[in-house]
Amino acid sequence: MNSYLIISIIAIAVYTIFNIYVGIGKAYSKSEVSTARGYFIGNGTGMFVIYFTTMASFFSTWVFMGAPASYYQHGVGWLASMAWMLLNVWYMSKFGTKLWRMSKANNYITPAELVSDYYGSKKIKYIIAIFLLVYSIPNIIAQMSAIGTAFSTISNGTLPYWSGVIYTAIVIGVYVFFGGYKSQAWVDTAQGILFVVVLWVAVIVMYFTCGYHGFGEMFDKLQTIDANKLLFSNEGSWPFSKWLSYTIVMGTGGYFAPYVWQRMYAAKNGKMVKKMAGSLGIMYSIIVVLPICLCGLGAAALIPNTTNADSVVVAVMNQYSPVMAIIVVIAIIAAAMSTVSSILVSCSSMLAMDIFKTLRPNSDTLKCRNAGRFFVLLLLIISMIMSFSNNSGIALLVNTSYAGYAQMMIVAFCIFFCKKATKAGVFTGYIVGNVTCLLLTQFCPWVHGFSAGLIGLVSNIIVTIVISMVTKPINLSRREEILNPLNEKEMSAIQTS
């Protein structure tokens, strides 16, 4: 066994022990997981943890793989991600505290609970839960597959792909099964900090220790290799239509993903959500996205002809700093695990609260929690099995997931800001939007340069408006009653009491 492999295995072991220590040793609380709410969204998460768990859940392996690969292959077009990060945070400003208040007042745990309560329909709860599950579960599978690949990369093939997949299922299974959301959020926080620090260290290693002395020399080299990579162009791989599609779909879907939506419910108070919305912009767009840009473009200057663009950051590190390559792979595993665990808790909550509890309304909170734990195990086993098969359907659903999540924006917008929207309009629009996304992604993913996701979102808006014009809107007094926790009188009544 060579020294590189021994260091890799030690690094994985240390990382695993650290995760279990944080998730079970520090975060686990028996009283916290004794109720369904505590198990799925906690009993009020503090600022530091809610901030980093929201960040870590949102960013997955694409931080080290897909995004640098895009800069590497196509140049600066991916800077669009800065704009979609701000759109994501803008949504948080508009919806975040409202979602928090509604959950606090009515004990909502899942997005579908709020929507079905507002429209008074169980069918709606099923429809939304099923669509969100259909988009989320394939993401667990995709991230588990990425970890399997990372294991194989870190050990030069000695640790097989399947060992990474099984490792992920066991480690995440342990702390999520016992500790639920709280353990997951604490581990997420540690993982989030880890991968952001590693990103910046990777930038320093690339620009200052790989034979160049700073940004100037590196960008001069890239300019001589391919200056077009440093310019925007409507003729290249990132035309404006693609910029717009990505910015709207990723920005919207990134916020309305159920695991981010539920972070709003999980905050200890509204001020935290407000503070988070005020400061996450700089975290997302500068502290995370800027080093991704520098890594991708730096790699394009250092190793311009690699065939596997997805692992270009690891390839550069392998060539110039093998120990750093191990740390980068650990960070990739951390980024993937944080997303898997968040989606896992979110999916188990939707299965337990939206499906199980709706079918068995007499189930008490402990039964729902136990159902949640059962679904955690079930989802892990299914995802593990699916990770071993090469199913193109999974790739389709992963590619559509953000576009699918984005459809929830119209639903949420109609609840809080549009009293003329009708139940029929909103739900026909939601279904049409989702079906359009799925069909177009499968058969024609780009129409005149615009993505299937954007077209799905636009079709959702059009159908919602048209059907709302010819159907009966929700009763105004009922609307006021449901949204009562947000009105001034209710707020002052709470204050007085």
């Binding site: 600066v76 704009a83 701000l86 960008f219 440093l230 001020k271 503070k275």
Partner: protein
């Protein structure tokens, strides 16, 4: 009053979007030189205006967004 303030920040947010899509059509912005600390102009342009966009969101949250807490 709240709505007017909110509108102001929303308009600035839309302006931010116009600024960051401008390089597609304005070649004077879509350029590599001058480099700032060795980083191409277009990247610095994006980073600079994104920081301003973040400040806009920060002040929007501070001044307009309601927390819906008891003391808000």
């Amino acid at each position: 009053m709240q709505n007017k303030k909110g509108l102001k920040y929303t308009i600035i947010f839309i302006l931010y979007w116009i600024i960051v899509i401008a390089p597609y059509w304005i070649s004077g912005i879509n350029r590599i030189t001058p480099k700032i600390f060795g980083i191409p102009f277009i990247i610095c342009y994006y980073v600079f205006f994104t920081i301003l966009g973040c400040l806009n969101l920060y002040f929007m949250n501070k001044n307009v967004t309601r927390s819906y807490d008891k003391d808000d």
